[in-house]
Symmetry: C2
Subunit: 438 residues, 2 copies
């Protein structure tokens, strides 16, 4: 990624990234793919559930919803109708460390899409009646999450690993915090966090950097979103994991399990090795866990290992769903598979295959404009100056010892097991987790 503070004037090639910082602090980052017919656009805001106080829990996500409800010149229907009427898509998501409003449209409609998104972020009315309708919708969404056993198990583990840190709370908020949230709180949150200096606009595909910058100049001087200093950011650290089994009994057919370990943050030098370890352990149908649990023993439909990284902390999980009575067998396979890597490492062929897998998947993913827009926006927001090539090189440089070292440092620690579904043989699960290091 080029990091020159002002836009380069030279002609740009496919895949070249241009960056401009407006006087207000708003950052614009584009990657032109001149042969693309469409453009992917994202407004990344440095505001997520991690920035919330306990009373504000769920405010980032609540705000993301109400910003779709209308401005002085556009009702809610019109916001979506303008984009959908040209075959485009507009949507948003809220994460623990940021909120993203995104759209995909044909190249000819890019200025329209940017205009609609600026209008939403800068001029929304946030009327009381709209807030009340969305409060009901979010309470519905909380029920939807509760009906998703895999997500519920994930929340149990996250809460245990991050203890009282805001990273341990679900993005959506709790029933209590959403019921109690006032219009004033949502508006204050908006005013505090949606400032030009906290926003990155990322575009990839059929985009003209200079025209986008010109169009965004109006945004940086609009009324609701005033230039200002960077919002407060409280540095946080995940607490060490205590071994635990946390179960929630629900009358699902299957039992969903998430086994979690403390991981590493986005900038941690161990991250490439941990990522390759996740691929070798459970990153596809040729991974050790998939082969043993699914192919050889038919114990579950799938099993995955996932490395999740926040800016300064992370989480490493192994996840599956199965008939309840098999949870213990699967957990024992996971323990033995991890123990084998901790004791004997991985083979050179396995490591090379995992490196090839990361490289090929990255190249395939970046054929589309949406993945480039997302990567560039999130990297810019977190101040990550590394290029995609840097990312691949850091994986190619990992040696066999590095994998063994991260396995020893992280996966030999006692984990937290979250399990949601019918009652299981709890005693067996406890025994395996409590005696993880033996």
């Amino acid at each position: 990624m080029t990091r020159n503070p002002t836009a380069a004037a030279r002609r740009h090639r496919d895949g070249e990234i241009r960056r401009t910082v407006l006087p207000s602090g708003l950052r614009v980052i584009t990657e032109a793919m001149p042969r693309a017919g469409s453009v992917a656009l994202g407004f990344f805001v440095d505001a997520g559930s991690r920035h919330e106080t306990a009373r504000q829990h769920g405010a980032s996500h609540f705000l993301e919803h109400v910003l779709f409800k209308g401005t002085p010149t556009r009702g809610a229907e019109q916001i979506s109708a303008e984009i959908e009427g040209v075959g485009g898509e507009i949507n948003a998501y809220t994460a623990k460390e940021h909120t993203c409003f995104h759209a995909k449209v044909l190249g000819a409609d890019r200025e329209l899409a940017v205009e609609v998104m600026i209008d939403m972020l800068a001029n929304s009315l946030i009327r009381s009646e709209d807030l009340e309708a969305e409060r009901e919708v979010i309470l519905d969404e909380i029920s939807m999450h509760a009906d998703d056993p895999g997500e519920s198990a994930h929340e149990l583990v996250s809460a245990a690993l991050f203890d009282r840190d805001p990273l341990g709370r679900p993005v959506i908020g709790s029933e209590e915090s959403i019921i109690a949230m006032s219009r004033r709180q949502v508006i204050n949150y908006w005013r505090k966090f949606y400032r030009p200096s906290s926003i990155v606009v990322s575009a990839a595909g059929r985009v003209d950097h200079d025209r986008l910058v010109a169009q965004l100049t109006s945004f940086a001087t609009s009324s609701q979103v005033r230039p200002s200093a960077t919002p407060d950011r409280r540095p946080t650290r995940p607490r060490a994991a205590r071994p635990a089994v946390i179960s929630r009994s629900r009358s699902f057919e299957q039992s969903s399990a998430v086994l979690g370990f403390g991981g590493v943050g986005r900038f941690d030098p161990r991250r490439p090795a941990l990522n390759l370890l996740s691929v070798i352990l459970g990153g596809g149908m040729s991974s050790r866990l998939f082969v043993e649990v699914r192919e050889r023993r038919g114990l579950a439909y799938a099993i995955d290992a996932v490395q999740g990284a926040y800016s300064d902390a992370g989480m490493f999980t192994v996840e599956w769903a199965s008939h309840a009575e098999r949870a213990g067998d699967i957990l024992a396979v996971v323990r033995d598979t991890i123990a084998a890597i901790v004791d004997s490492g991985v083979s050179a062929a396995e490591l090379a295959r995992a490196q090839g897998q990361v490289r090929g998947q990255t190249v395939l993913a970046y054929e589309g404009s949406t993945s480039r827009m997302s990567r560039n926006g999130a990297a810019e927001l977190t101040g990550d100056a590394r290029t995609v090539e840097d990312y691949l090189r850091s994986h190619d440089e990992v040696g066999l010892d590095d994998v063994t070292t991260v396995a020893r440092e992280l996966l030999a620690q006692p984990p937290v097991l979250g399990i949601v579904g019918p009652r299981t043989n709890r005693r067996r699960l406890d025994r395996i987790v409590q005696r993880w290091v033996s």
Copy 2:
């Protein structure tokens, strides 16, 4: 789509489709996108749950699973390791009318991917122990489906609308049919349906038509898959819907509802009008139902209208999830919204916007190689000779009267409501459904 029976020798441009029929009857269809770095490959087999007898129920899907378990030269792990090791993906799905084995790899790896897929389809061992392991996995998958309330509601409606027709049965089979399925049955099913004349190989992206054809010639003469006549195909018709509410009580937080009407088949001239009606009614955030149910009243997180077409029959559904006590209110909104269209039609602006939405979404979707591969393969398998331009033109030609006519013919009929979740006010739902036409 060009329909010349032998491959054209001229130089091909981006987006040009070439087709070759091998002497065995195997069809090869490619769409070269020379600037793409990757290629999407699919083997489409004319075998789905619709082709099964009651005793064979689930055989297509069971077979799809066991074809990943190994050949004389490749174990299960090796099949996936060869593709994943170069960063590619390989997978498969089974539908009611076909089975598809698909892969996405970098252009340089395309011959490897084709070789692996040929080996699976032609030379699989289907050993008893592998079959037993997959039987357990499929029983797990049946439980997974049962834990998905939206999918369960869909199955209830499908079963009611198609009555005893195989189209009304879930693809995966039943617990009973999977437990009873013998190795002999699975192998016989394979021998009967996996014949060159019943298979279409579709590729899009970085592909060379002639080299692919040359490589596939070996497949057509391989041992297990012998040239033969087209398999039996029993023409079927959906039965007319009887008004009904079918509920399944489950202790989910939310209640998932699917309201279904008999629809139209892939070749029915009313299909474009019905498709536009689904867009206007519930095809996005600017649709009538989304605006009324979500934006104005906050009754549910989302509501969609979906037009599903098989070769000679179809189904039109409206789908949502909500708190149980709101199911009646939402159903009343759906009834009133449909009644308003049946009575007064739609506006010219609404129709134009829906046409723009279909056009833009189609253009956006076809930027990627996977969607082109899928479309070309499925169209070839069903003998659909229409091009993407034909598809768009058929939508542009729809007039206001056409939309009103399909609304009257299809959506004024009494529907079937499938509902899964906590107990609801069943009497109110019954009353609305029984008095649909009033």
